[in-house]
Symmetry: none
Subunit: 163 residues, 2 copies
């Protein structure tokens, strides 16, 4: 576990605050917490709750995640090398959708020849967002709609919205 010091959350906050060139009281005001409590947090005398942490993050204009990671409350970033893990972790999917995705994925994994793991990125010269060989399985998507949610939406052409 090469995790950073959990207690460094206070130092991290103080560091961020000083870099922002604001006083402890100012940050306390912006974050909506009391000055003395913030003081104790920065010196590691208190272990703030997630709500306080979130408010402090807002006051510092930094990501809440960054603070949570520093506080050791989030496995830093959780690199989901596992598709199933990522699907399970997605809070915006319904349980039904999750199950469908996992099932499809597992069926793929079972069928897939596990031999071409050598950077299959170039396995298929896919140039556009759509596969050229054949049209996308719109039938699937249309059929999946009842599993997703209301509002029949056939527009599923992928928009390459990788963040």
């Amino acid at each position: 576990m090469a995790l950073p010091k959990v207690g460094s959350i206070g130092e991290y906050i103080r560091d961020q605050r000083q870099q922002a060139k604001i006083s402890l009281r100012q940050l306390a005001e912006a974050a909506g917490v009391s000055n003395p409590y913030l003081s104790q947090i920065e010196r590691g005398l208190r272990k703030p709750s997630a709500e306080i942490l979130n408010q402090i993050a807002k006051g510092l204009r930094i990501s809440s995640q960054a603070l949570y990671v520093q506080a050791g409350l989030i496995e830093d970033r959780e690199p989901p090398s596992d598709v199933i893990t990522a699907i399970r972790a997605d809070p915006l999917l319904s349980e039904r959708q999750r199950q469908v995705l996992i099932d499809i994925y597992e069926s793929f994994r079972k069928e897939a020849p596990a031999g071409d793991e050598q950077t299959s990125q170039h396995a298929h010269p896919q140039r556009g967002p759509e596969t050229d060989d054949e049209p996308l399985p719109e039938e699937f998507l249309a059929a999946l709609e009842p599993y997703a949610a209301p509002s029949g939406n056939g527009n599923v052409t992928q928009e390459t919205k990788e963040g």
Copy 2:
């Protein structure tokens, strides 16, 4: 709007727990919290700290971020499209499979309004040939086989391979 009630964290936990088919005591044990406290959390009588939340997430085998987002402790500013990342990174999927998975996932994301996985049950009065009771869309999996590879395999019952 998007995050109506923060207190729904308890419902979310209970939902996840029941879908995992484990008892309150089992989850409490796995998460390292007391059973009565977990009971109170699930019913919204207590507001757990981030540490407890983190442990519960571990016990549920879900992402801490998912819980934090549900708890309103993280601005869902960064929608975890980790699913797409994971799909893209999976070396065992063919390009076509990858595309199908991403398309399905994105269609889910577009249709699903995050929180109401319950209401979506009755969202579609006009149902297909099968009723909603059907646990899993085997028809989809069967139809997807040509997109995966030869060798028909219909055994895709949810085995919930909890590691």
